[in-house]
């Protein structure tokens, strides 16, 4: 599809330069991608460990692992805020977005390489502020609901300040990607030929740009209320606690799509390559990402159906929530249909992509329960929500993330991992995830509320099963991580720069790519998904 592609031996790979300075002052999008990847993975591990601690605590109804309920509450606050703000929101968008966007559109780097580095530095400042708060962290939950977050004696300011600072990193990255996609596409790379990961990154970037400032302002108001006693949200000072929820979800609902739309893009890249088929319904997938992004700004009240909002508001937002389910369902059908009459290879990344379809379907369908007003009243704030959210976030985003790690591993690092071990790890992760979270749907139906350090006896068997599942899941992630880390210290390079026969531009350059990506900017003559075209 592309001309002017260089040969493998001509140039020095981007990883050749060594030393700390070559990393902290790099403006190479591939290196900045790695910096993000390492940092988000670090937070994923920490937040994952707190989750294992919480699951261990919940083996039995009474407190036995943590010393106090507050310690448990701190654990779920850390788990939630680290996973959401430090791992999954920057997650795929910042790591794979950085690595892939210039390569996929045929550019040498992003539009503003120095601002790109600045984004990462701001992200680091945010994480440093957060880490400084870890000595005495907040116990508010990742949602920081007022007035509890104003009245609690734990340290709320530092953790929210960290999230506030992170927001700027998100905004700058989004801006950078939008300009890059508009301005730096190679000749012939028209909008209708763009890889779907680019469409997804573009939709995500718009959400980052428009929604993030709102959470920044909200958290600043919260800090002002705590530090200077200005009554925005606490009714005791004349404030309105529901106002906080409106502000918070106005960001945090679109943020759900900041987390998951990049994964949609990844799945749309992996499936066609391993099925050797064009993606089915390219336009439907591309436009539905935008439809979801736009509608997602108008559904935030569905987090507040029982908070005392008016009946009319509830009805409007329930209706809009149902609308967002339509483009989501269409995507699932499209991915599945892509397999039809294909030639399917079950590479580890393909296994993650296929399990994404199944698990994300569960996440999406259980969302319909919560969109239906009267049913939500019963299920709200129970483990049903916890299960639903994890099916979307792990079953969706994390499966996409793991799939991407296995798919682009050779390209990004120029190394090869052991495929059999990767498949074993995938199997453990898939089974462990379902054993952990599927029982939580039933627990939620039964009425088990979330964020309970202790719980009534009757839920013990569900909780115990869920905890066993978390061990399988943890083991799977451990094996996967070790399997992906070992090759980095070993000699050896991939035999081919395009082992899976992808038509996308990033696979037409050597593994790992040279610093400048392309010797000559390629000219694109066909779309990215012309698999099997005669």
């Amino acid at each position: 599809m592309a001309n002017g592609v260089m040969t493998q031996t001509q140039h020095i790979p981007y990883l050749a330069q060594k030393g700390l300075k070559s990393w902290i002052l790099t403006t190479d999008h591939k290196r900045i991608g790695i910096l993000y990847l390492v940092t988000i993975s670090f937070f994923f591990m920490i937040a994952g460990l707190t989750a294992l601690g919480m699951r261990y605590e919940l083996m039995t109804p009474e407190l036995d692992f943590f010393r106090t309920a507050t310690e448990y509450n701190v654990a779920f606050t850390l788990h939630g805020s680290l996973m959401v703000f430090f791992f999954i929101v920057p997650g795929i968008a910042a790591s794979f977005g950085n690595f892939l966007i210039p390569l996929m559109i045929g550019a040498r780097d992003v539009a503003f390489p120095r601002i790109n580095l600045l984004s990462f530095w701001i992200y680091l400042v945010g994480t440093a502020i957060l880490l400084s708060a870890l000595a005495q962290p907040a116990d508010t939950g990742w949602t920081f609901y007022t007035p509890y977050s104003i009245q609690t004696g734990t340290k709320v300011i530092m953790i929210t300040l960290g999230v506030f600072v992170l927001g700027f990193s998100s905004i700058l990255t989004g801006m950078n990607f939008i300009v890059t996609i508009h301005k730096l596409r190679a000749p012939g790379m028209t909008w209708s030929r763009l890889p779907l990961f680019i469409w997804a990154s573009y939709a995500t970037a718009i959400l980052q740009l428009l929604a993030t400032p709102v959470v920044g302002i909200t958290l600043l108001l919260l800090i002002a209320e705590r530090a200077f006693d200005i009554g925005f949200f606490d009714p005791a000072k004349g404030g309105d606690p529901i106002l906080f929820q409106n502000f918070f979800w106005f960001y945090s609902h679109p943020a759900v799509y900041i987390m998951v739309i990049p994964a949609f893009g990844i799945i749309s890249e992996i499936i066609p390559v391993f099925a050797r088929k064009p993606i089915f319904g390219y336009k439907a997938i591309a436009y539905s990402s935008f439809a979801i992004a736009i509608i997602s700004f108008f559904v935030w009240l569905h987090h507040m159906f029982v908070s005392g909002i008016s009946e009319t508001a509830a009805a409007i937002f329930s209706f809009l929530t149902m609308l967002v389910a339509i483009p989501t369902a269409v995507k699932v059908f499209n991915w599945t249909a892509t397999l039809y009459k294909g030639s399917i290879d079950f590479h580890s990344s393909m296994l993650y992509a296929l399990s994404f379809i199944v698990l994300f379907t569960v996440g999406g369908l259980t969302g319909v329960y919560l969109g239906a007003l009267a049913v939500d009243v019963h299920l709200h704030d129970t483990y049903f929500i916890v299960a639903h959210m994890h099916y979307v976030m792990i079953g969706g985003t994390v499966m996409g993330f793991f799939g991407a790690l296995h798919f682009w591993y050779q390209k990004w690092f120029g190394k090869v991992f052991d495929e059999l071990t990767a498949k074993i790890a995938w199997f453990l992760i898939f089974v462990g995830f379902n054993v952990t979270f599927f029982p939580q749907f039933f627990m939620g139906f039964q009425g088990m509320p979330r964020r309970y350090a202790t719980y009534p006896e009757e839920y013990i068997s569900y909780h115990a099963l869920s905890t066993y599942g978390s061990w399988i899941l943890g083991l799977g992630v451990l094996i996967m991580t070790v399997n992906l880390l070992i090759p980095l210290w070993k000699e050896g390079r991939p035999e081919s720069s395009n082992p899976y026969g992808s038509l996308s531009l990033e696979w037409q350059v050597p593994s790992p790519p040279p610093h400048e990506n392309f010797d000559e900017i390629p000219t694109v003559t066909d779309w990215t998904y012309a698999y099997g075209k005669k």
Partner: protein, 315 residues
């Protein structure tokens, strides 16, 4: 108890469960469909040789239209059904018996029309609708009884209501569903649904004891409200017999729609009365001068609740 869904013990449970069942059927159908197709394709089209034939299919307008329209119809049905049942959940019948509920870190207080109070135990009568008027003393809590399929967040600074008709005699768990701090998972109470005879006995105080700390107060909220009305000077400006003094009369005030000075109108409910006591100038009724002082710091939340209960009796 079934493994799927808890026992249904209120008039509202059946309609919620019907929608849940419908959504479950739809969900299981689509989940099985997608999984089965996925597995079938995975087996049938697995790569057997490197040069395996593949088809070049990019899209198909007919099938794409079909699989957009069918979910849309189903989702609209679910939306409408959920909304209809939600309206029922949100609108108590006029004859519902009122109970005042105060949630605080980390206990539940209930005050009944008769002046009886109970702590962490709510007493209701079988087949009699109950309307709870709830406020919080500190942070957000949430009233949740799984067997009744009802839940409502309770906020500080305003009243939230919730209603149900218990249909089965028994004791049910009341759980706090909104995270409220270190005692959150211990903020549990019981709902005792009594038969009419047992309820009558309980009302007379024959059988069951009130919490020791609360036993001393036995004046009904209406009585206390009436005392406050004269002691705190409300009577200087507000009549109870319909006469116009300085402010609007309390007679027939509750439930009425008032025209405001800015041209809008407001329904006089618990929240409006509470606001007008604490912040009289927030929503001024047309034709009155803004002279009333705020009673913030003068009347406690409990006293305001009692006053409102009194105003509601003035018909």
């Amino acid at each position: 108890m079934s493994t799927w869904i808890p026992e249904s013990a209120s008039n509202l449970a059946a309609s919620v469960d019907n929608i849940t069942l419908f959504v479950t059927i739809v969900s299981v159908f689509f989940f099985v469909l997608i999984s089965a197709v996925l597995v079938a394709f995975s087996i049938k089209y697995r790569r057997k040789s490197e040069d395996q034939e593949t088809a070049y299919i990019t899209h198909n307008p007919v099938i794409e239209t079909i699989w957009t329209i069918i979910p849309t119809i189903l989702l609209m049905v679910i939306f409408a059904w959920g909304w209809i049942a939600f309206k029922e959940l949100r609108n108590p019948p006029a004859e519902a018996i009122e109970v005042n509920v105060v949630a605080k870190q980390w206990l539940w207080e209930f005050e009944y029309f008769t002046g009886k109070k109970s702590l962490n135990e709510l007493f209701v009568q079988q087949n009699k609708p109950v309307r709870l008027i709830m406020r919080s003393d500190d942070v957000i809590h949430s009233f949740f009884v799984p067997q009744f399929r009802v839940k409502q967040d309770i906020l500080p600074g305003s009243y939230q209501q919730l209603w149900f008709t218990p249909t089965k005699v028994g004791t049910f768990d009341l759980l706090c569903a909104e995270y409220c701090g270190s005692g959150h998972s211990k903020m549990l109470a019981k709902v005792n649904v009594l038969s009419p005879e047992a309820f009558a006995r309980w009302e007379k105080g024959d059988e069951l004891e009130d919490g020791p700390a609360l036993a001393a107060i036995s004046v009904s909220p209406v009585e206390r409200g009436k005392d406050l009305y004269s002691q705190r000077g409300c009577l200087a400006c507000h009549s109870v017999d319909g006469k116009e003094v300085i402010g609007p009369t309390f007679k027939n005030l509750y439930g009425k729609t008032e025209k405001l000075a800015d041209g809008s109108s407001v329904l006089v409910d618990e929240n409006y009365l509470r606001e007008s006591i604490y912040e009289p100038q927030a929503k001024m009724v047309a034709g009155y001068a803004p002279t009333m002082p705020s009673f913030k710091g003068i009347l406690s939340e409990d006293e305001v609740t009692a006053l409102i209960e009194y105003i509601k009796t003035l018909k």
